[in-house]
């Protein structure tokens, strides 16, 4: 199977798992399971930036339409992440711009750099998501609590999905 097709199938499976979990498992109003940052992390690094932006926007919009959330929230957060994921990647993995073919799997990089990278991109994603999901309508403390809980939960889940799905597929 061509690698791009395998990647599309994995992306579809991850999105469906995310949608089913959020729609049918009662995790309470504070927690939102989101694997979109993980999907954006695995977008090819040698791809043109504007194409990455459009793909990320599309991924976010699909999740928005399928989820019981506000349309535009995931699309906006994913687009922001697609803009910054490459500039963050190089310093974290200490790679120069010539090693664009490098794929940041756990097997090809050490686990701590990998988790650090995931932590940063999830933090950026949820910064947009929670800021636009009614920050003005709730207290800063509740929003901060929600932000930290979501980073912790999604980081743990992203590592599990990453190791089980993305690494074994390569």
């Amino acid at each position: 199977m061509p690698s791009y097709l395998r990647q599309i199938i994995i992306y579809a499976v991850v999105i469906m798992l995310q949608v089913i979990t959020n729609n049918y498992v009662n995790l309470g109003p504070m927690i939102y399971i989101c694997m979109v940052p993980l999907l954006i992390m695995y977008l090819p690094l040698d791809q043109k930036s504007y194409i990455s932006l459009i793909i990320a926007f599309g991924l976010g919009l699909i999740v928005d339409i399928l989820s019981d959330g506000v349309m535009g929230l995931n699309a906006g957060a994913a687009t922001l992440l697609a803009l910054v994921y490459k500039p963050i990647f190089y310093p974290v993995f200490k790679k120069n711009t010539y090693s664009k073919k490098f794929i940041p799997t756990v097997e090809e990089s050490d686990i701590w750099h990998h988790v650090l990278y995931l932590l940063i991109i999830i933090a950026i994603y949820f910064l947009f998501y929670i800021a636009f999901d009614g920050l003005a309508r709730t207290t800063l403390l509740v929003s901060l609590l929600r932000y930290l809980i979501n980073i912790a939960v999604n980081l743990a889940l992203a590592v599990v999905v990453d190791v089980t799905l993305f690494n074994k597929s390569r």
Binding site: G28, P29, Y32, Y50, G69, G72, G134, T138
Partner: protein
């Protein structure tokens, strides 16, 4: 040449980024829960089929709870009925008024209480006389507002939604404020903008004020659990709701009689 090509790429990337973010923010600001419901209208009929069956299984396990709730409601209604009968006996005047509100009983097909923007689907629609902007309540809870109506079903924007506000007052006083969900659990709310002079204290009951035309007055919704002075100007009160809005089954859709007349009057007054 290379420098120019890179500049074009950078400008293109920034342009695409700004365009996509603008589209996202416009969607967010257009109250998109309702938007998505309308976009997904075709898919909804299939989803409703599965929701009805999955809710049926859940309902079976909640029967005892529903029975208790209905028993309590019956007791309250009997108590009110006896009061009305007593008043009529005391003053036997022919009463021809139909009541201020029309009540349409409905059951919940889909209730999703675990998001920041929650909604419900009820088994009543346009054929039952349901219209948008009608309130949805129980005998001890504000449930939400009808946001969209199809022939057989209606979509309700839940009170468990940070954009929802309801006018509520402290029972036995004239102090009223805005009741909104706290965004944390299914039984927590905040009553805000209460005057500093208010005597409301922990344990007091909060009920609907009836100052909006959406919800009828005097529905008890919860008790005050904490009082907090905000900026020395007014008080915010934490409210423990009586009803867990995540485990509801039966509700009432309410419509105030002469609603059109009130709306037209408000519109005329605003235009002047």
């Amino acid at each position: 040449m290379d420098y120019r090509a890179n500049s074009y790429k950078l400008l293109l990337t920034i342009g695409v980024f700004i365009a996509l973010e603008v589209i996202s923010i416009v969607m967010i600001t257009q109250n998109s829960v309702l938007q998505r419901y309308l976009i997904m209208g075709g898919v909804r009929s299939t989803q409703v089929f599965f929701w009805e069956r999955s809710e049926g299984i859940r309902d079976f396990f909640r029967l005892r709870k529903y029975n208790q709730s209905l028993q309590q409601e019956n007791a309250e209604l009997r108590s009110k009925l006896s009061q009305v009968q007593y008043l009529r006996e005391m003053e036997p005047v022919a009463d021809t008024t139909p009541g201020l509100y029309r009540w349409i009983p409905a059951s919940i097909i889909k209730n999703n209480p675990n998001k920041q923007h929650n909604y419900l689907i009820l088994n009543r629609g346009a054929k039952d006389g349901v219209e948008t902007e009608m309130g949805v309540v129980t005998h001890n809870a504000i449930v939400g507002v009808v946001g969209a109506v199809s022939e057989h079903y209606c979509y309700v924007i839940s009170f468990l939604n940070k954009s929802q506000r309801a006018s509520a007052m402290i029972s036995g006083t004239s102090d009223f404020g805005l009741l909104s969900w706290d965004g944390i659990g299914t039984r927590g709310a905040t009553l805000s903008h209460i005057p500093l002079s208010s005597s409301g204290a922990v344990g007091d009951t909060i009920c609907t004020s009836g100052y909006s035309t959406i919800y009828p007055p005097d529905i008890p919704v919860g008790t005050i659990s904490d009082v907090d002075a905000v900026s020395g100007m007014y008080k915010d009160m934490k409210v423990d709701l009586f009803q867990d809005l995540g485990s509801l089954k039966y509700v009432y859709i309410v419509q105030r009689h002469h609603q059109d007349e009130i709306d037209a009057l408000s519109k005329n007054a605003n235009n002047k």
